[in-house]
Structures are given as C-alpha cells and as structure tokens.
C-alpha cells in the first residue's frame, strides 16, 4: 500500500512525465502519442482516486527548499482530493476524447504535452499547502491554458485569445502574489493550515488586503465579473481543451481558492458581500449573453461563466458545501456538454448553430447524451445532478445572502433553462441544413461521453458521503447529513418551488416564443448590448490602446544616446544618495 504522500506526488508527476514522454515520442508516431497520453492521464487519475480513502487533515509531505521559500508541503484533505480527482478523471476523459477529435492533426506532441502538464499542475495547485507553491502552480496553469488556447497558432484569432487569457489571468495572479507576500511578512511562513488556524491574529487591514486580493485572483481565474471576457474568446481552442478548461482544471481553481480561504476571510468586513455581488452579477449577465450568441461553443462558454457565478455566489453566502456540490455537478455535465458539442462540431465543421439543425437523426448517441447534459444544466428535476446542486445553491443563498442577489440567481435559473432549450433545438431539431453525410461520434468519443452521461444521472446520489468527505473544509457547524436528508431538504425547501416555477416559465417562454415576439422586440436593446458583451470588450480595447500609447510616448526616453543614458544614471545616483541621506537623518 502506498502512502498518500507518494500518491500525491504520483498524481502530479505521472501526467508531467507523460508530457515529456509524448514529446520524446515525436510527431512522426501519432498512434504511440495518442496511446501514451491516454495511459499517463489515466495513471494520474488512478493515483488521485487512490488518495480518496486516505485523505487527511495534516500535511503529508514536507520537502525542504531553502529558507526563503519555506518547505514545499502538500495537504490532501477532502476538498483538495476532491478537486484533484475532478481534474484527473475528467481530464483523462478529455484526453480519451482527443484520440478521435485530434486524429490527423499535426503537432500532437505539443498538444498532448500541454494537456498533461495542465492536468498535473492543477492537481499540484489544489494539493499544495504552501501559498507560494500554490502561486507557482497557479501561474503554470495560466501558461498551459495560454498555450492550448493558441494551439492553432496560424490563426490570429486563436493567438489573440490565448494572449488575452494570459494577460487577464496574470492580473489575478498579482492579487494572489500580493496576498502570499503579505502572509509571509506577517506570519513568517507560507503555510496555509497555520494561516487558516490563526487568521484572526493578523492585523485586520492586512487580512482585508489579502481577502480582496484573493477575490481578484479568483474572479480572473474563474472568469467572473469584471474579468469574464477571456473565457468566451478561449473557444478558439480545440474542443477537448475547452472541456478541460471549463470542467476539469482552470476555472475551478478560482472557486477552490475562495472555498479554501473562506474560513479565514469570513469575518473581513464587506468581503462576503463583494463575493455575492461578483457571483450574482456574473451569473445573470452571462446567462443573458448566452441567450443571444449563435456560436455553439460560445453559448456553452457563457453558461460556464454563469454557472461559476452560482458557485462563487454560494461561497459568498457561506454555502461551501453547496458551491462544491455544484462544482462537482457542473464539472460532469459541462464536460459532457462540451465533448458532445465537440462531436457535433467535428461532424459538421462549423460552430455556427444557424447552420446546424436536424442533426438528431444522424447523431443519435450524441443527441441523447447532450440532452442529458442540457437538462442538468437547465436544472430540470429529478434525475439530473444539476437540478439538485443548483437548488442547494439557491437555498444557501436565500438563507445567507441578500434578497436582491437571490432574485438575480432565480431569474438566472430561468434564463438558463431558456438558452439551454434554444441551443438544443437549434442543433438537433428543425430542418437539416444540408451537410451531406454526417457521421456519428467515433468510438473513443463514445468511451468518453457515456461515463459522463451516467455521472450526470447519478452524482447527486453521493451528496451525503461527499459532504462527509469534504469534512473540516466546510467549517464548523456545516456538517452535512446523509444523501436522503440532503435530497429531502432540497425537495422541501421553499426556494426549490420558486426556482422550478421560474425554470418552467423559461421553458414556456421557449415553447411560446412565436407569440412572445413582441416582447422579444421590446428587449432587443438588451440583446444588442449582450452581443456586444455589455461594453466590456470596449473597456478592454481602451485599456490596451491606452497602454500601447503610453508605452509609445515613453519610447522617446530610449533614444540610444550614450550621454543621455549616463546622465540618467547620474540623476538616479543623486536620487538614491538623497533618499539615503534623508532616511538616515
């Protein structure tokens, strides 16, 4: 029996070794590359799953690394192991799916090595308990996502999207780094468990800076308001990568960060409210944008942003269990949706839903699994995991959050049902648009899709054990009962009926869309604003052009004349001497 420390290292290391191996195999032997990528991803998943029975609340590995950085410590508690399992298992399914999806693509070595590196880094991010190490893994995942989003690097749009993702997540990285350095200054180490236990002894303003720094980091990583614009653009990536980013790795990191540090920041004034505002605004805004997009992958991307808003909102209202439970549901059904969307796109060679339609007859398997995923996303009772976890989030919000935010979320739930029906019917029903022969998903695609569909239909049955598994990470007084108690609690909560009524209203609105066309015309202004991403793209462009302009004007100081440079050095010297003289006085 291996110790959990070894398993933790294996679940990080095996995908990383795989990344090197796939590169070394070389692009001339694609069959070997496909096979070894799948083997190493699955091996990492096995190591992560094997950690489940051994989870612990103490640091298990302690690798000394000089005095400046503290020891590299790993803490596989319930929360960390849960996210490691999500990252590796769903990551492996994305890798298996890639065998069919990426068949015949060039530069598979580059593709698989970044995917595996990405998965390993995400596991490292959730398992490590040294804040500086968390930051390092955080930035590695940002780098991998950049490389994968820009995978088709002869497409300027893909390159621009990758750079955008990198820059936006770097802004968040600054927040995390600032928090980590402050922690080192005031605590003398980067140790996270020590911090969580003694957070109240830190000065209040320092704690506040850390709390809001981490909120910025989480918002940038999880594509929350006002950083949400990078995720829809990231749709230029190959579809399995989108599934990986949306369900298994990248975006979960932000929610993880908030949930992990919630006990420490709970008491910071206005922090919880800020988290609720970020989550609620994002959830509603992204749902509206999903409603007006015609690009299948963009719809799914906005729905991810919106569902992540639900998780962030749940953390802000104190519902850590609700947020993690929804994360589990979302990881499964969103991976399912993305991979089946990938199968559709692979078959018809377009992402524009207006050119699809009537695909249900030609792709029966994909149709069934995608509808299962869609119904989970829409929150249709009773057999889909999305329903249970979303109601849990809403109930947590009703108890612990402001009423207006709760109203936002309930309206968002109705919009979710509406846009889900819209994209499902645009893709699978209606008149075929003439694609000639469309083939159903390949065998490897089906191997990846079927377990996810089964998971969507069953993971809610794990509610009780899952709550017990998260254990101490939920905080004092947040113990979760058995599955029966949790599900019964959801069924009898008043929120559930309100939300169901709103969801039904959303479905009805799609059903009766012809007679509502007058209303649709009245709301066209909002629709136009939503297609323009509510002006956030314009703000982004403004920031970019202002930065470029100021850099251009600063270029005049770089005139390359030796005398001016020496003069600048002398001025600098005088300034330093003056500061020393004044400071010494």
């Amino acid at each position: 029996m291996m110790t959990i420390g070894t398993l933790a290292l294996l679940s990080i290391g095996l995908p990383w070794i795989g990344a090197v191996v796939v590169r070394l195999i070389g692009d001339r032997r694609p069959a070997a590359q496909h096979a070894s990528a799948v083997v190493f991803a699955l091996a990492g998943a096995v190591a992560a799953v094997a950690m489940i029975p051994q989870k612990t609340d103490a640091n298990v590995l302690d690798l000394p690394l000089g005095s400046a950085f503290g020891h590299l410590t790993f803490l596989p508690d319930g929360l960390a192991v849960f996210l490691a399992v999500v990252a590796t298992v769903i990551g492996s399914l994305a890798v298996i799916f890639s065998v069919d999806y990426m068949k015949g693509e060039r530069q598979l070595g580059r593709y698989y090595s970044y995917v595996l590196f990405f998965i390993g880094s995400m596991v490292g991010l959730v398992l490590s308990s040294n804040l500086l190490l968390i930051f390092v893994f955080w930035e590695i995942t940002a780098l991998c996502s950049y490389a994968l989003i820009s995978f088709y690097n002869d497409d300027p749009k893909a390159v621009a999207a990758g750079i955008k993702a990198l820059i936006v997540t770097q802004v968040g990285g600054i927040g995390l780094l600032a928090g980590a350095l402050l922690l080192y200054v005031y605590q003398g180490s980067y140790d996270v468990p020590t911090f969580l236990a003694t957070a109240s002894t830190l000065p209040a303003d320092v704690l506040a800076v850390m709390a809001f720094g981490f909120l910025v980091a989480a918002a940038a990583k999880s594509a929350q308001f006002p950083f949400q614009t990078w995720l829809p653009d990231a749709m230029e990536a190959p579809t399995p990568v989108s599934a990986l980013i949306h369900a298994a790795t990248m975006v979960n990191a932000g929610v993880y960060l908030l949930a992990r540090f919630y006990p420490a920041f709970e008491a910071v004034p206005h922090w919880k409210l800020a988290v609720v505002v970020v989550g609620a605004v994002t959830a509603l805004m992204a749902a509206v944008m999903a409603l007006v997009s015609n690009d299948l992958k963009r719809v799914l991307a906005y729905s991810t942003v919106s569902q992540l808003g639900y998780m962030v909102y749940a953390v802000g209202t104190g519902g850590i269990f609700a947020s993690q439970f929804h994360l589990l549901s979302h990881a499964v059904f969103k991976a399912l949706l993305f991979l089946s969307a990938g199968a559709v796109i692979h078959a018809v060679h377009t992402r524009d839903m207006r050119e699809m339609g009537g695909l249900g007859k030609q792709m029966p398997v994909v149709k069934v699994v995608m509808i299962i995923g869609g119904l989970a996303l829409a929150g249709i009772p009773l057999f889909f995991n999305g329903f249970w976890s979303k109601e849990l989030v809403l109930e947590a919000g009703r108890e612990g959050g402001p009423a207006w935010a709760w109203a936002f979320m309930v309206v968002g739930a109705g919009l979710t049902a509406l846009y889900t029906l819209r994209f499902l019917s645009m893709v699978f029903y209606g008149e075929p648009k003439g694609h000639g022969h469309v083939h159903d998903a390949g065998p490897a695609m089906k191997i990846a899709l079927v377990p996810l569909a089964l998971g969507t239909l069953t993971t809610y049955l794990l509610a009780g054990p899952f709550g017990g598994f998260l254990g101490r990470a939920l905080g004092e007084g947040h113990e979760v009962g058995t599955t029966g108690q949790v599900l019964l609690g959801i069924l009898t909560a008043p929120t559930t009926f309100v939300a169901l009524a709103v969801v039904a209203l959303g479905l009805l609105a799609w059903w009766r869309r012809e007679s509502l066309s007058g209303l649709a015309r009245a709301l066209r202004g909002i629709g136009t604003m939503a297609s323009n991403s509510f002006g956030f793209e314009a703000i982004n462009r403004g920031i970019v052009s202002a930065t470029v302009a100021s850099a251009e004007s600063l270029r005049t100081t770089h005139n390359g004349v030796l005398n001016w440079n020496v003069f600048a050095i002398l001025v600098g010297l005088v300034a330093v001497l003056a500061i020393l003289a004044l400071g010494g006085a």
Binding site: R555, T556, H558, N559, G560, V561, L562, N563, V566, F567, L570
Partner: protein, 103 residues
C-alpha cells in the same frame, strides 16, 4: 590638518570617478567613451583598495581590485576590437550617428 594617505586616496577616487563620468557625459566618440569608462573603473578600483584599508582588511580590497583589473582589461579589449570593426563597417565612430534606436 595634515594630508593623510586615506584622504589623498579619497580625493583621487572622487577625481577619477568625476573625470570618467564627465567623459562619458560629453563625448560622442566611441574610443573616448572607452577611455572614459577606463578612468571610471580605475576610480572604482582605488575606492576598493581604500575601503579595504579603512576596514582594516587591505588584502580583501586588493584582491577585489585585482579581479576588477582582469574584468576591466577584457572589457576594454573587446570594446576596442568592436570599435575597429564599427569603423570598418560604418566608416564613423560617432555614437549618435551609430544609434539605431532613433525614431
């Protein structure tokens, strides 16, 4: 107040540093810039020896100065060799004419 050896050395340091910096500030000739740099480094070297003497560890100051001599020689050899090539390639040693960072 008598003229002690450290005082003389300190005046020398300031004089050499000042001369070197002034040369770098005003010259447009690549060879003269190398000469100015040399004078500047000689000032730094003398400062090292002086600091060693004042701290009572003259041997450390001297070995630092010897190290600087080695590095400094290499710098001037490479710089002058480059100057020869620059003159052959571009036909001028004027630093402002040579600058390509111009807008």
């Amino acid at each position: 107040m008598s003229l002690s050896l450290p005082l003389l050395a300190a005046v020398g340091v300031l004089g050499l540093l000042g001369t070197g910096l002034l040369g770098l500030l005003v010259t447009r000739n690549l060879i003269k810039a190398v000469v100015g740099l040399q004078i500047l480094v000689k000032g730094a070297m003398l400062a090292l020896v002086l600091a060693g003497r004042l701290a009572g560890q003259i041997q450390i100051g001297q070995s630092m100065a010897l190290t600087v001599i080695v590095a400094d020689t290499i710098v001037s050899v490479v710089a002058l060799a480059l100057a020869v090539q620059v003159r052959r390639q571009f036909g001028t040693l004027d630093l402002q004419a040579l600058s390509t960072l111009r807008r």
